[in-house]
Amino acid sequence: MNMLSKFGKTALALLLVAGTAACGNSDDSNSANAPDPEGTQEAQGYEYGVGKTFHSEEPVSYSMMFSDNEAYPYQDDWQFWSSLKEKTNVSFDLSVTARAEYENQKALVVNSGDAPYIIPKTYDETAYVAGGQIVPISEWTQYMPNYTEAVEKWGMADDLKAKLQEDGKYYVLPGLWESAAGGYSYVIRKDIFEAAGVDVEGSEGKWTYEDFYEALKKVKAYTDRDYVWSDQYQGKSSLNIAGVEYGVTGGWGLANGVKFDEDKQEFYFADTTDDFKEYVTYFNKLITDGLLDPESFTQDDESARAKFYKGETFVINGNYQFLAEAASKMTDKDSELYMIVQPGGPKGLLQVENSRLENGIMISQNALNDLGKEEFIKMLRFVDWLWYSDEGQTFALWGDEGDTYTKDADGKIVLNPDITYNGLNADTGTKQLHVDLGFAGGVFAYGGTDELRFSRMTEGERDYIERIKEYREPRAIQPPIMATPDEAEEMNLLVTPLMDYVDTMTLKFVMGQEDIDAGWDAYVAQVQANGADRYIQTANEIFSRTKETLGY
């Protein structure tokens, strides 16, 4: 008896302790810290603005999360840090986290109320909105001139709509690109394709997946292999980019299987349509006709790449960075690697990458609470300069003019010969731009003008992007489903079993484990049974509620 009450008392004490720890950091934005719509905050003790370099009179330090990429691990003596300090008088108090654990760490640190002020490399901010730990940054962007200018100049208002949350605000400062990226496509052995009689450059502009199929057959006939294409990423990238052309979702793009019908202005479930049937039939054909290696969907990336390097296969999905690295690993030194424009499909010759936004920065509520409105705005203006001004972006990518790079007569950036990066100056470079100096890293160097984007590319990559621009049509961006936290929770828990089934069946159809014709009706019925209709219904209800905010 007394044991129990003793235990009970301790438990109570601990409950209290735990409770107060939790209550430590509540939301409650006091009105003193609310943004004013005019955005006219005087700059006290610092310089900022479009065309100006941010500079603080007093040295200042901001806490930030840093995703440590194993390919160029964090060093505290990188030139990047010292140069930044010189220019702006700002340094960082970094939480260095291994890239593989970054998402986990982010979730923990934000949810425990301990988040650093600046949280970069945020791909999906939706999970953090309801917790009240992240600033609804859309209310503060009027203080950020470079960001605002980019949005206006490049017409990003529509793109940003995709980031709107249920309260009409958005919570992340996305990376902004003047044009959409090249993205993933198929890296092929141009030499083999041409020897097999395929006019690559002539036909890639207009070819659809069916044309691509014919080309693959020619290659197979010429090389006489069991299959000519063995995919990496477990086929998820190919399923994704092909999905776009068929109007369905698959692979990396599987998501919730939902597409938006622009004409009818409503959402529908794309993965039970006839388009979807065509899509899986196509990939199944690739396998049964001995063009695509069935192991593509299960093997390790390493195995797929090995086959390609060794010259056993001639097609593999990848992005341009992969191509650049693969070039040096090919066993046959005369191989010619070429990145084709993504083939088109029933929905047309569509550009796969349609978003000009990319991973971005969340600002934690702690920044606002700790710094107070004035200093908070100062920090935002610093972020504005480093990540959104042309000067800041160029610095983050290339370093210091004169020191690491120079500009030629046309204003094009020329990397100093003793520095190498992404294939540039491969023979003369002794220092690596990202590994040794800290520039061109994924945490800081992204976003910007086309010119800046092209400056980091080799001829080949630039050519690839140009070809996409020439031969492919841009496509509309889907509106977001602006659900309330309760709705979002329900939909989220519904979506996993639903899409698991679609994912499994996609592969079964493709691999021939399920017969497409025989099993189709049962498949559609099961998808309905798993709640697809309910999901779409909820999505459309939400849409009709939020149409106006989105401008429809």
């Binding site: 939790a22 999970a127 917790g131 828990l493 996993t496 089934y501 592969l507």
Partner: protein, 315 residues
């Protein structure tokens, strides 16, 4: 181990004695408990309060005790989800089969090692058998996939015998075998440590006595060794049974794919796919409580059965 497990002898007087007097009398022994119990309260029990979000809405953020009561909503969510039950079933099957195979194999292997006369070879075999334990799961998964590739060694062997090639990794019926075999490979050697350690505590005189009575090696193992380490064996068995709803999360994540979800998807991987979001924390916690309760029931039953049959038990 050593002398067969002792049992209490003088119970008759303790019931009479009051609790307080008993604690005073044994205060030295109880004092050992102070620090560890404090540790448990702080580091194990205090965080457990967080489990309350299985019954409350939690939207993320430091208010980790949740915002409002929702009763059994999250429990209902997963209880009504057939995919969850599939994961539950797979979890059960994989763990039970793994236990059934690994348990006797580890014991037998330990006994065999114990029979090695040459100390040098014994050490060598032991050390080498521990190596797989140190190979990171990612590398193991990679090796397994390479082994089972369509043009890998196993399929090569099949071809030689005239059997058709199999794409093992994409066939749900093969997953349990792959999971269990790779698990045995990883854990067999390491699992013998406890048994071997226990065997050293067996009084060698017992062996002598038995040998004099004419027992051969098999009888020795059966009548001396195994009874000698019976507490260890039963302890491990009981604990393993309690752990049936666990699984090697990382390995499954690396070896499974949508084609094999049917047999490979277990509770932990399913919850992982549900991802991080406001509601999923509560969902995951509810599932965790469910797992915990089942585990507790399992361990208590196993303990009871063990007590009745072999006279050894955890408590």
């Amino acid at each position: 181990m050593g002398i067969l497990t002792r049992k209490q002898v003088n119970i008759h007087e303790t019931k009479r004695e009051s609790l307080i007097r008993h604690v005073r009398k044994e205060w030295i022994l109880y004092s050992f408990l102070i620090l560890p119990v404090l540790y448990f309260l702080i580091f194990k029990y205090a965080p457990m309060l967080g489990n309350i979000i299985a019954f409350r809405k939690y939207r993320g953020g430091p208010n980790f005790l949740g915002t409002e009561w929702v009763g059994f909503k999250y429990f209902e969510m997963f209880m009504k989800d057939p995919t969850f039950w599939r994961a539950f079933r797979n979890n059960l099957l994989l763990s039970v089969f793994y236990l059934l195979v690994r348990f006797p194999l580890t014991l037998i292997f330990a006994l065999l090692i114990n029979e090695l006369k040459n100390i040098g070879i014994k050490k060598f075999v032991q050390t080498v058998s521990y190596l797989p334990h140190f190979i990171s799961t990612v590398i193991v998964a990679g090796m397994v996939k390479e082994l089972l590739a369509l043009n890998g060694p196993i399929n090569g062997l099949l071809q030689q015998i005239g059997l058709p090639k199999l794409s093992f990794v994409s066939l749900p019926e093969w997953f349990p075998t792959i999971y269990i075999s790779s698990g045995i490979w990883q854990a067999l050697g390491w699992g013998t440590i406890l048994y071997l350690a226990a065997m050293t505590t067996i009084n060698t005189e017992l062996y002598e006595a038995a040998r004099i009575d004419g027992a051969n090696r098999l009888k020795l193992a059966w009548h001396v060794t195994i009874p000698g380490i019976l507490p260890t064996i039963m302890t491990l068995l009981i604990l393993d049974i309690g752990g049936i709803l666990g699984s090697n999360f990382e390995k499954i994540l690396l070896l499974y794919n949508p084609l094999t979800y049917e047999t490979a998807d277990v509770i932990s991987t399913y919850v992982y796919r549900i991802g991080i979001s406001g509601g999923s924390f509560s969902y995951a916690t509810a599932v965790g409580l469910f797992e915990g309760i089942i585990g507790l029931i399992l361990v208590m039953s196993a303990n009871y059965v063990s007590r009745k049959t072999t006279k050894t038990s955890l408590w």
